[in-house]
Symmetry: C2
Subunit: 246 residues, 2 copies
DNA sequence: CGACCCTATGTTGCATGCAATGTTTCGGGC
DNA sequence: GCCCGAAACATTGCATGCAACATAGGGTCG
């Protein structure tokens, strides 16, 4: 008995399944739900006050995205990414980001250059003025997103977006570092330079190099000592950002 | 009231949703369902003698795979791929197949070399002895599949598999050619040579080149005169391979 | 003859019931 | 105290009902 039904503005925007998906995905990417946490369809349905159908759909999408795995009779669990996964993920990402940078270089126009520069400079200011994990990640993602948008290849974008999601998940459980943020921006700057110089080959190399270095730094950090990860397996209420109880 | 229920051997093998998905995917890839054909959930459910739930799930997976698109209140339709899609698809595929070839080269062992050689030679025999569209496509897919299997990168495989599906769909609606089959095998042979020589860089280049040439040949063929494609939009019974009515 | 409204039809997304199946736990026997 | 069996429990996948909504088609009125 839903108190009120979300209206469907034709282009499925606020369908329950979508909202459930977005909410859960957000929780996973924001590390509010951690690898190993169980995703019980019935429990989540009750929590969100909706039926199991849309929740089931959302969970299946998460699984399809590689953000969760399906454990036969124990509900789905948030995916656990190990170091090998990360290596593989970044190997693919290296090739794809390189390609994106090359394509983007060939399609760059003044408007996009300005947007890229603005993003980059804001990111540089951010990193220079202390370390804000959340903001850094946002800026980083925005930068890469803009590049693949400029590249203008639907299928490349889709593939990259998948990789990004999983990579993001990996970062959460394995690593975080202020120093890395600085290096990331520096490397972004290098890709930007090659792109605005119109050198597609160099842009491709720089972008690939950026991801490769990311992978190496990540491996080293993990080898040195992985983040402690408290193991929990029970369902908790989705930790809200700040939720007035209704 | 299903006459009999498919048993679930834990590792979801013969679930109704899976079977529906496989059946529909097969129909699309085999061109029995063509771009533009409508996929009505209720109709398909009746056809297969199951309820709408698993069918709905299957259709959503197809959409997620890019093999179908969602038209708001008219049911889903088999995706239509135009030339631009193909170009984009093959651009990405070029990078990924190249990467796969490089990785595979680094992990090759005697067993895999033998398997590759066997596949290749069978393919050469096939092409030399006339043209069998179906068999050619099978061999081609098997070859690429084996390479990405040897490459041993889960996420790369997943990405490539997606691309493959859509590319396959594109080939059906746009193109077929005996000459192309010959060239494909020849280029496969070149990749194989580089791989067995242990030259990962050359393998990557050869694989990329293979896909790039494919893309070019495809574009030219389409420009010269696309295959006639009868437009149909009604739901027909899934054309069975050879179906005794029950 | 054309524009318009109104109904019939088809699709969609959600809720819910249910049987099969696997897991976990708890109690009893050794 | 430990092992084994059984029942309670949770999850799963499928079937089905249903109300909202959109489109198409036809009949009517101007």
């Amino acid at each position: 008995m839903p108190t009120e039904r979300a209206v469907n503005p034709v282009t499925g925007g606020s369908l329950l399944a979508d909202r459930a998906y977005e909410e859960m995905k957000g929780a996973v990417l924001a590390n509010r739900l951690r690898p190993g946490d169980s995703l019980s369809v019935p429990a989540l349905a009750v929590q969100m006050g909706i039926s199991r159908s849309p929740v089931r759909e959302a969970v299946q999408r998460l699984i399809h995205d590689g953000l969760a795995t399906h454990v036969p009779h124990r509900g789905a669990v948030v995916a656990t990414v190990d170091l090998e996964d990360v290596r593989q993920l970044y190997t693919v990402r290296e090739a794809l980001e390189g390609l994106a940078a090359r394509l983007a270089t060939e399609r760059l126009d003044a408007t996009k250059v300005a947007e890229l520069r603005a993003l980059l400079e804001e990111h540089e200011r951010l990193v220079a003025s202390g370390y804000d994990e959340k903001r850094h990640i946002e800026m980083d993602m925005a930068y890469h997103r803009l590049i693949r948008e400029v590249a203008g290849n639907t299928h490349l974008s889709a593939a990259l977006e998948n990789i990004h999601g999983k990579a993001h998940l990996a970062l959460h459980s394995l690593w975080r570092s202020p120093e890395a943020a600085r290096l990331a921006v520096e490397e972004h700057r290098r890709v930007f330079a090659a792109m605005t110089a119109g050198d597609a080959e160099a842009a491709e190399r720089a972008a690939g190099e950026h991801i490769r270095r990311l992978r190496i730094r990540l491996s080293q950090a993990v080898a040195a000592g992985p983040e402690p990860r408290p193991d929990r397996s029970t369902v908790r209420p989705l930790p809200e950002e700040a939720a007035p109880e209704s």
